[in-house]
Symmetry: C2
């Protein structure tokens, strides 16, 4: 028996199509939606990832600029750039790419991104508003988890979800999104005693740790739904998830890597940018 | 066998003593610390509670004003008041008391409280910063839970804590504080299927629902530590917790109501106010 694969490709394509239509309408109205990715690293895999966002944006009719501040950028330069992009009326979405130079905290720096342009939900204000049930952009990866489960008709209400990982960009915001959907949520992490004992009681397991193959068949109960958020680089230049492929023999359903959560994440970043442009051109502002 | 009672009274007295000393030093330096509680309700039990805060503040050497906007105050009046108190250099702490008039969302209105004066952690920015591991005032009740457990030497690291209740003022922030202490945290709520099955696996149960006696012996495993955040009014004018008193026969330790979390909460509000005054008079500002 083998798990159903919960692909993200079809959903991502749907979101891109709908987003491209809206982007075209905005451009026709004289406001081409524009995303700026702020980069402050010489890391090659980051450069590759940012180019892939820019490529996807271009195909969707969204202008995507890369503001490369270099690997030695100071915290105040990064914040200054984010502040001026936040004030620039031609810019609708702003992403602060990690990693950042040593000593620059992403959570602190991202506080300079205006909420209404914070399309990857990196400003702590966005996370707080999300937790408080107020309108805000969620981090795209966290939203991709819930959107992908919805797309495949996985019920969340009243079910027990174990989130493995407590990062500010995935684990914590996905916990809030799941609570908002009436799931009972357990957040596990590196200090959790007997991780397998906890996760194997859950209906749904979300693995968001960044360690290849951490989640084995022992961590999952039979027929559980497993969401793999991991995107760990492999020696041969590919990607591996946080979930051991052998889990497919035990789980009821599993998201693939690549082609699962990651595919949806980029599409959601673009959707958020178009939504931000919609709101900003309508003259409203998120706080 | 009967549970150890984890009283909050001694801890509250300690915090008040330390806070009074600091308040006296600030007053001597020409800056008497000042707290303002904004009220917009005619509710009698709220008035009683606010007077009790003012009384405790007075005894600690903190000036406490009550800004009563009346039960018909509009959202913009409430936000306007919070904005001007945030700008007033003689004010160091600002609390927005609930309940609020129909149609006014506490989470939305509290966004007008400057972070540095948000001594009850009501601004969603404070919650987001807390979740992101950045300096911020936690809601006093949520912090009281963790502070009281620390005071009694209850280990949190690696232990499984079930938080019952997902409110913005208690359940969610206490979950973040517990995660920050390396606990594995499950958040349960009204839609949780078989609550007792979930909570009875936990080392520590935090009940923060507001329903008298919701947590019964069946919800708790033998020797568990139980924290009762409930303060439900009784017919005879007293207070009852969310935990059935019979739990004391099964749990290893239990916080009393009254005299547990609630006692510590007020003391922490005063400590926060003095800390805010310390920071503001030093010329620093929290974001």
């Amino acid at each position: 028996m083998s798990a159903i694969m919960l692909s993200g490709r079809e959903l991502a394509a749907e979101i891109r199509t709908e987003t491209a239509a809206r982007a075209a309408a905005l451009a026709e109205g004289g406001t081409p939606p524009k995303l700026v990715v702020v980069v402050a690293t010489a890391d090659e895999s980051t450069a590759w990832y940012v180019r892939s966002i820019a490529g996807a944006a271009g195909k969707t009719g969204i202008v995507c600029d890369i503001a490369d501040l270099g690997p030695d950028a100071a915290a105040e330069d990064i914040r200054g750039t984010l502040t001026s992009l936040s004030a620039d009326p031609t810019v609708h979405g702003v992403i602060l790419q990690t990693p950042l130079p040593p000593g620059v905290r992403q959570e602190e720096a991202a506080g300079a991104i205006a909420s209404g342009k914070d399309v990857d939900g990196a400003n702590p204000l966005s996370l707080g508003r999300l937790a408080a049930g107020l309108p805000a952009f969620a981090p795209a990866t966290a939203e991709a988890v819930v959107t992908l489960l919805d797309h495949h008709g996985v019920e969340l209400r009243g079910r027990h979800v174990a989130v493995v990982g407590r990062s500010t960009v995935v684990g914590k915001p996905v916990a809030h999104l799941l609570l908002d959907r009436d799931a009972t949520v357990t957040v596990c992490h590196s200090r959790t005693r007997d991780l397998a004992a906890v996760t194997s009681t859950a209906d749904v397991v979300v693995a968001a740790v960044g360690r290849t193959g951490l989640i084995t068949p022992d961590h999952v109960r039979r027929e559980a739904v497993v969401v793999d958020v991991g995107t760990n680089p492999t020696a041969d230049g590919g990607l591996a998830g946080d979930v051991d492929p052998a889990v497919a023999e035990k789980a009821g359903a599993l998201t693939p890597v690549p082609g699962g959560v990651g595919a949806v994440t980029t599409a959601l970043l673009l959707r958020h940018t178009v939504r931000a442009a919609d709101v900003l051109t309508a003259g409203h502002q998120m706080p």
